[in-house]
C-alpha cells in the first residue's frame, strides 16, 4: 500500500537518536515549543526517566530511544495535564504505544491534549526492565546492537510481536527511521498540528515517503504473522477456566500490573476498596465450599475484572509484565484478549482521538449474533423486516 504522503528529510549523521534530539533542539530554539518531554538517562546513570526539558544543553543528553520503558509515557502526560491543560506548549517525544495510550487517556478525560504535540518514531522495542537492571552497561549495548539491525529478540515479548511500531495515527508528527535514507530521518506530519510544526520550522514536505512506507509495511506484515502465531500458541495454553487459573496461579495479588498500566487510571481500584474486604465468616464459608481458599483471595477475579475494564484500550506496551514480580505473562495474555476484543468492535486503541471508545457508542445492529442466543426470536424478526 502506498499513499501520497510526503515528509521532510532531516540529516541525522550521528544516528537516529541524535537526529531526533537535533530536531527537538531546533524546535525549541525557534520557539515552536516551550518544552520537550523526552526520556533521558537519570543522573546516576543506571536508568531512564521522562524529563520535561527547556534547556538545550540538557536536551543534548536525552535518549528518545531509551533501551527501557520504566514508566509508560501516557502516565507521564496524564500526571502533567490530568487536572487541566498547562500554559506551556509541550512536544512529547514518545514510542507509538505510549502515544496510543495517551490518546486513549484523552478519550477517558485523563489527559488534555490542547498544548501537547505528540511526536512518535519507528520503535525498535524496549528490553525488559529485569534484563536491564541486572547490568545496565550490558543492557545499553544489547539494545544498541539490536536497534542497528531491527532485531527484536532481546526486547519485551510483546515488542517482538508488535505490529504498531510505527505511525498509527495517534501522533501529530511521526519520525521515520526504517527505510529512511541513511544518515537521515524522515518527518511525517499526521495532523494539522504536526504540519504547523514543520511550517514554523521552515521544513517543507518535499521528500517521498514510499521507501519508508514499504519498509514499515514489510515489517508490519512479518509482525502480524508472528503476533497471530504467538496469540494462537498462547490461546491453546490458557483457554478454559482450569488453564486460566493455572496461568495466574503464582499471582501474589500485588496489583502492580494495574499500577504501571497506562490505561488503568482509577484513583481507587475496586479491588483495593472496602468492597473487596469480607468478614471472617465469609472467608470460612468460601473455604468450606471450595476445599480450601487460596490466600490472597480473588486474584483471578481481579485479572478478569481488569481485563474487562481496559482490554479495549490495551496498547500492548508490556509494562504490566515487566512489573510483575512473579513473571506471569500478563502482557501476552492481555494482548491476546485485547486483540480479539478490539477486533470485535473494529477498534484500534489510539488510532485517532476522534474515534469514540466502543463502550460509549451504542449501535442498534451490533452483535446480533450474540443477542440471537438470548433473544433469537426478536433478532430473526428484525432480520426478516430488514
Amino acid at each position: 500500500m502506498t499513499t501520497n504522503r510526503k515528509g521532510a528529510l532531516l540529516p541525522a549523521e550521528g544516528g537516529a537518536q541524535k537526529g531526533i534530539i537535533n530536531f527537538a533542539k531546533q524546535a525549541l530554539k525557534q520557539g515552536v515549543f516551550d518544552a520537550v518531554l523526552i526520556p533521558s538517562r537519570v543522573p546516576a546513570g543506571d536508568s531512564f526517566a521522562y524529563f520535561l526539558i527547556r534547556n538545550e544543553a540538557v536536551l543534548e543528553g536525552a535518549s528518545p530511544l531509551s533501551p527501557i520503558m520504566p514508566v509508560q509515557g501516557a502516565r507521564v502526560i496524564s500526571s502533567i495535564t490530568r487536572l487541566g491543560k498547562g500554559q506551556k506548549r509541550i512536544a512529547a517525544i514518545m514510542r507509538p504505544c505510549e502515544a496510543r495510550a495517551t490518546i486513549e487517556l484523552a478519550k477517558l478525560g485523563q489527559v488534555d491534549l490542547e498544548n501537547i504535540t505528540i511526536i512518535t518514531m519507528d520503535c525498535p522495542g524496549v528490553i525488559p526492565l529485569s534484563d536491564y537492571f541486572e547490568d545496565a552497561a550490558k543492557g545499553d549495548k544489547v539494545f544498541e546492537d539490536a536497534f542497528q539491525n531491527w532485531n527484536s529478540k532481546p526486547m519485551r515479548p510483546v515488542c517482538r510481536i508488535c505490529d504498531k511500531f510505527s505511525s498509527v495515527g495517534a501522533e501529530d508528527l511521526h519520525i521515520g527511521i526504517i527505510g529512511a535514507k541513511s544518515g537521515s530521518i524522515l518527518l511525517i506530519p499526521h495532523s494539522s498540528k504536526g504540519e504547523d510544526v514543520l511550517n514554523k520550522m521552515g521544513l517543507s514536505l518535499e521528500e517521498d515517503v514510499n521507501d519508508w512506507e514499504a519498509s514499515v509495511n514489510k515489517l508490519t506484515e512479518e509482525r502480524k504473522q508472528k503476533r497471530n502465531q504467538s496469540n494462537e500458541g498462547l490461546r491453546s495454553d490458557i483457554e478454559g477456566i482450569d488453564s486460566l487459573i493455572e496461568t495466574f496461579s503464582a499471582c501474589i495479588n500485588c496489583h502492580n500490573c494495574m499500577r504501571v498500566c497506562p490505561i488503568c487510571y482509577c484513583l481507587q481500584c475496586h479491588f483495593d476498596s472496602d468492597k473487596m474486604k469480607f468478614s471472617f465468616d465469609d472467608y470460612i464459608t468460601r473455604a468450606v465450599a471450595r476445599d480450601g481458599l487460596t490466600i490472597p483471595t480473588d486474584t483471578l477475579l481481579f485479572h478478569i475484572g481488569r481485563m474487562l475494564h481496559m482490554s479495549l484500550s490495551c496498547v500492548s506496551c508490556g509494562m504490566c509484565e515487566d512489573a510483575c514480580p512473579m513473571a506471569i505473562p500478563v502482557a501476552q495474555v492481555f494482548t491476546l484478549v485485547g486483540d480479539r476484543n478490539q477486533e470485535a468492535f473494529d477498534y484500534v486503541p489510539g488510532r485517532g482521538v476522534d474515534e469514540p471508545l466502543p463502550l460509549t457508542t451504542f449501535e442498534e445492529k451490533e452483535f446480533l449474533e450474540v443477542e440471537q442466543s438470548y433473544a433469537g426470536a426478536s433478532a430473526r424478526q428484525e432480520n426478516q423486516n430488514a
Partner: protein
Amino acid sequence: MQEPLPDRRTRMPKILSIDKSPEDGLKEVLRFLLENGKVKGVVTLRKTSEDGAVSYSLITNPDDIESTVPLLPLMPVNLAKQLSRLTLIEAATEPIAVVLRPCELRAFVELAKRTQGSLENVLFISSTCGGVYPLEMAVEGNIREHLPEYWKAVGQGELVPNTRLACQACEYFVPYTADITVSLLGNKGIEEETTLFLNTEKGEAIVEGISEKFSEGELDATTIEQIRSKRKAEKEKLSDEVELRNLGIDEITKIFSRCIGCRNCSKVCPACYCHVCFFETETSQHQPVYYERELDKEGCVNMLSDTIYYHLVRLFHVSTSCTACGQCADVCPANIPLWAISLKTGEAVQKAFDYLPGKDIGEGPPITTFVPEEFAEIA
C-alpha cells in the same frame, strides 16, 4: 483491648516430639487439630498448581492437609497482611491455626496493635526460621532442587545460601509470641524428628489428646546465640556491600535513581496498612503549574521526581514497625536493595525508642506513647 499473651518465659515449655520430619510432623498436628474440631481452619502454604506454584490457603477439610507444604521456605506474600484482611472486619469467630514465619508473626502483632486485625481465636505456630528463598526462585521453579541444601544448612545452624538477603541478615529468627514453635535451626535431628515447643497454655491445651511424646525443655540458648552471631556478622557484611554507610542526600538519590514509582514495595509491606496511600490521593496530584514553575527555574524537570520523597515518607511511617521481612525488595522491578534500607532505618529508629516491633503485644507503638523525659538530648 487485646489480652496480653502469656509470657512464655515464666514457665518451662512443654515439648511435643513426633518421629517424623518437621514438615510431616507439623502436618500431623494440623490434621489432628482439624479432625478433632480444635480449630475450624488452618492457614498455611499449599501447592496450588501442577507446576509447583505455592500460596497460602485457608483449609477447613483435614484431607486437604496432605497438599500443604507448611515449612516450604517461600513467602509468596507476607501473611501478616493477609491475616489482617481475614480479621479486619471481625475477629475470628471460630478458632484457627496459622503457620507463619517469625517476621510475619511480629508484623501481625504490630498490625493488631494498630487495630488492623485481631489475635483473638488465632493459634500461632511459628518456627526457628532458616529464612525463605527469593520470589525469583519460585518464578524459576527450582526451589525443590534447593531443599536438601536448605534443610542441611538449617539443621546445622548455618546460613542458608541463596535465601533472601534480608533472611541471611536476620537476627530475630526465634519467634516471640508463638503458641507453638517448631525447632528447626541448629536442630541436628530434623531429618527424622519434629520438636514442637508448646510456649503458651493455649498451645499446650490445643494438642492435648495427640498420641505422641511429651517432655519439658527449652531451646538451646548457646546454639541460638551462635546462629545469632553468624547472622549479625552477615548483616554487617551485606550492609557494606550495598554501601549504606553514611547515607547522605547524594547517596539516597543514587540508590533510588532506578525507582519507577510503582510503589509495589508499599503494596506488599505488612507495615504499610493505609487503605489509601497519601501518594495516591488527589493531594499528591499536581497542577500543571507545579511542573512549569520547576521548568522555568531549573530548565528541566524529572517527571519521576516524587520517588525519593515517597521512599523517605514511607520509611518514616513504617520504620518503627518494620520487621525486615524483605518482601519489598523481592517485588521491586528495579532491584533496589530495599531490604537493606528498611532494615538499617528500622534498626536505628527502633533502637532510639528501645522498641522491637512485634515482641510484646502489650507494648504500644512508640509514636503513641508519650514519655516526658524521652529524648532530652534533642529537647
